[in-house]
């Protein structure tokens, strides 16, 4: 400490540092952030490993544009459609925010599916990352339910009737189906309450669940470390070295000068002695 203190510090800087230290001593946030940012990850990570973060960024964008839309949207059957019209045609940049929210939903589905694909083809769901996959799969399902519940809010014919069909489908599920459908509809029929129920599910229930599960997902990812791509140079070298060591061990076990006839055909055929010909 003393050796780096080579002169009087600006009191503002001192106060700032003291405040940081105060918080860090009590929360460990500085240490934690430092660990998170500067922890080692495998040297070679693929561009495909950016898709999870991209999904998260899109989720953030949906949250922000969604908050702005909520400032103008009216979840009431008599004014919902009109308020969407106002957002689209009158509110400054309203068409852009609504467009971003709409395209963002599709983009998020695409990116989450691509992310799933990369995790699948990299085998990154294998030990010890099984539970990371499970939290991710639940996130995918929640993302799709966001699309389903948000579709109704525009309150236009196409969305309304598609949602009627979707809820009817839910109701046809055995045993609990009718109860879930009643909860979704806020009663036995589609009515004024249905819209506000979908609104609250779309902007409170599912986003809350998603934030929680993104938290769990991230906790597991940073605890376990991001998987190394299975074809990384380091991994290939290890694989080659292991293969060589295995061969060498096999050779050593055999008495000098004699070769056993392998039970199955060897991968590389032994050179054949042509005896009869000479």
């Amino acid at each position: 400490m003393a050796t780096t203190d080579i002169g009087p510090k600006n009191p503002a800087v001192k106060a700032g540092e003291a405040a940081f230290d105060y918080v860090d001593k009590r929360t460990g946030v500085k240490t934690g952030a430092k660990w998170f940012m500067f922890r080692n990850i495998p040297a070679e990570t693929s561009w495909f490993q950016t898709l999870g973060f991209t999904a998260m960024a899109l989720f953030g964008m949906q949250a922000i544009t969604g908050i702005i839309l909520a400032m103008y949207y009216k979840p009431d059957p008599n004014s919902a459609f009109q308020s969407v019209e106002v957002i689209t045609n009158e509110v400054t940049w309203g068409w852009l925010v609504r467009g971003m929210h709409k395209w963002g939903a599709s983009a998020m589905i695409v990116v989450v599916f691509l992310h799933l694909g990369r995790v699948f083809f990299f085998g990154s769901y294998k030990y010890p990352r099984e539970l990371t996959w499970v939290t991710g799969a639940i996130l995918l399902i929640m993302t799709m339910f966001m699309g389903l519940t948000g579709y109704l809010l525009v309150w236009d014919q196409k969305a309304y009737w598609a949602t009627v069909v979707a809820v009817n489908i839910t109701a046809s599920a055995p045993i609990i189906g009718p109860y879930i459908a009643d909860i979704l509809r806020a009663g036995p029929e589609f009515g004024p309450e249905t819209l506000s129920r979908f609104y609250s599910i779309h902007m409170l229930v599912i986003p809350g669940g998603m934030a929680t599960f993104i938290g769990l997902h991230l906790f597991l990812i940073s605890k376990l470390g991001i998987a190394e791509p299975p074809y990384s140079k380091r991994r290939m070298a290890v694989e080659r070295a292991e293969e060589e060591a295995r061969r060498a061990a096999e050779n050593e076990r055999l008495p000098y000068g004699r070769r056993e006839v392998p039970a199955v055909a060897p991968a590389t055929p032994e050179p054949q002695k042509v005896e009869g010909a000479s």
């Binding site: 500067f38 561009w47 950016t50 898709l51 991209t54 009109q82 971003m100 294998k126 995918l140 014919q157």
Partner: protein
């Protein structure tokens, strides 16, 4: 993976990290770049393809085409495959069984595939499954995207339509029944069953009039806003399909 393979993986991964690089900036810059590109693309699409707004909801008018968002097309198409033609194709396959099997398989993947191999070219089953799922989803989504929407505006190619039958046919077209049902080649091939020969079931017009007020099976929307005369007209129309009107 057995215990030894797990230990091996842990040791190997620790080595990878030891020879690794810090998360910041080596992974962060990639993440930020791709995420920025994605958001830029979304903004671009929002500007390029202005959002539209359709007709306001009118629960009394069922003049609609119930189309979900494109990412539900694959489920929607399932309804067209399993529409209760016979005992082997029950509707519940599309509404409940297949989606739930898919969901359970998705969540359970890491517990089904527990082998230690991570290189895809050495995991033939995973490779095949992955490609099959992608092909299935792509095909079903394509089907959903290219299925015809506003069908039947030209009228139904039926003969023998009397006054009542014609009124029923008009109601049938005006209320979007063709969005889910096919009659004599007009209308979507599903999700609902083909109604061309509905009359051969021998039910009365009253039966069909009541049927559409509360369709069993739950998937089809109820049509509760017709006048008694209209129920009679559409009931007569449905009861005569394939027998009187063909």
């Amino acid at each position: 993976m057995n215990r030894g393979q797990q230990e091996y993986y842990k040791r190997d991964y620790a080595q990878a990290k030891l020879e690794g690089k810090p998360f910041f900036p080596y992974a962060v810059y990639k993440d930020l770049l791709i995420a920025t590109l994605a958001i830029g693309l979304v903004i671009g699409m929002a500007i390029w393809h202005r959002v539209e707004i359709g007709e306001p909801v009118n629960p009394a008018s069922t003049d609609f085409v119930p189309r979900p968002e494109w990412y539900f097309f694959f489920l929607f198409e399932l309804l067209k495959i399993f529409k209760g033609q016979n005992v082997f194709m029950p509707v519940i396959m599309a509404t409940f069984i297949v989606p739930n099997i898919l969901m359970v398989l998705l969540i359970a993947t890491p517990f089904i595939d527990r082998g230690p191999e991570r290189r895809i070219q050495k995991r033939p089953i995973a490779l095949f499954t992955g490609i099959a799922v992608i092909a299935f989803l792509a095909y079903m989504t394509h089907l959903g995207a290219s299925s015809n929407e506003g069908v039947g505006s030209e009228g139904l190619p039926l003969t023998g339509l009397d006054e009542k039958g014609q009124a029923g046919a008009d109601l049938f077209l005006a209320n979007g029944c063709t969005a889910c049902h096919n009659v004599a080649g007009v209308g979507a091939p599903g999700p609902g069953p083909n109604l061309t020969n509905l009359g051969s079931q021998g039910q009365t017009p009253q039966y069909w009039g009541e049927f559409i007020q509360d369709p069993p099976g739950g998937v089809m929307p109820s049509f509760t806003t017709f006048t008694p005369q209209q129920y009679d007209e559409i009931g007569t129309f449905l009861a005569g399909l394939g027998t009187t009107y063909k």
